[in-house]
């Protein structure tokens, strides 16, 4: 799949160093649930998801978003072995959580939008391209153990 050049890795790591994982996590998961409302199907226990502002302010969404993005931080540290890094999570998402891997692609693209939103001009086309590789790699790694 995606091969990360040394330049890609430097770009990816340098930007990630400036990401507030807690804020970005809540933002990313929240926007996923707002923009693609069917994804709410996995979060019945989260309470009030009745409006965009309810979702974006929901403390469970924020907490879970932080969890998800922390995990993505692991990806950034292990770009050369995404499949290995996410093997257990892949099994979990298939066997226990029953999540269609398409959702990983949706989340990845929402993250890219959130990064663009936060970093503005700094999120150049080149930086975006590097991050599209990351999110595609993570989505594939998470889908890899599905059976």
């Amino acid at each position: 799949m995606g091969h990360f050049t040394e330049e890609d890795k430097a770009t990816i790591t340098s930007l990630w160093g400036k990401v507030n994982v807690e804020d970005a996590g809540g933002e990313t998961l929240g926007r996923l649930l707002v923009v693609y409302p069917w994804t709410q199907r996995f979060f019945d226990s989260f309470g009030n998801l009745s409006s965009a502002s309810a979702i974006m302010g929901n403390p469970k969404v924020k907490a879970h978003g932080k969890k998800v993005l922390t995990s993505l931080g692991d990806a950034v540290k292990n770009l050369d072995d995404l499949k290995g890094t996410f093997a257990q999570l892949s099994e979990l998402h298939c066997d226990k959580l029953h999540v269609d891997p398409e959702n990983f692609r949706l989340l990845g693209n929402v993250l890219v939008c959130v990064l663009a939103h936060h970093f503005g001009k700094e999120f150049t086309p080149q930086v975006q391209a590097a991050y599209q590789k990351v999110v595609a790699g993570v989505a594939n790694a998470l889908a890899h153990k599905y059976h």
Binding site: G30, V34, V35, Y36, C113, G120, Q128, A129, Q132
Partner: protein, 130 residues
């Protein structure tokens, strides 16, 4: 899916802002598309795709103008874009998956340029009309 009044207002007002930077937004969107999804370049073998190329700028303007038409005819996008749809389907024969890639890159461009306006609601609104 049909648009609510709020979404309609959001799209129209976003468009008002976009149109002030239409050309550069179009060019940036295409640049992002070709860098993140190099396979999309296969539709443009006849173009000079280097950043700053006149063809890229001209085509970027065209694309954004079409999005503008869609925004202005938000209640009847199918009819407004029917000629373009036929062009892309029968003449250009572009695989429809590429339109999603393009709209993602447009969203990213807008997110980077209009941080105050790119709220979660604004992020969601264009999707309901595609």
């Amino acid at each position: 899916m049909s648009l609510t009044k709020t979404e309609r207002t959001l799209i129209v007002s976003m468009w008002a802002k976009i149109s002030t930077q239409a050309d550069t937004i179009g060019t940036e969107t295409l640049e992002r598309l070709f860098l993140s999804y190099p396979q999309t370049k296969t539709y443009f073998p006849h173009f000079d795709l280097h950043p700053g190329s006149a063809q890229l700028q001209a085509h970027g303007s065209k694309v954004v103008a079409a999005v503008g038409d869609a925004a202005k005819n938000i209640d009847n996008i199918g009819a407004a874009l029917s000629k373009l749809s036929e062009l892309h389907a029968y003449v250009l024969r572009v695989d429809p998956v590429n339109f999603k890639l393009l709209s993602h890159c447009l969203l990213v461009t807008l997110a980077a340029r209009f941080p105050a306006d790119f709220t979660a609601e604004a992020h969601a609104a264009p999707g309901t009309s595609s």
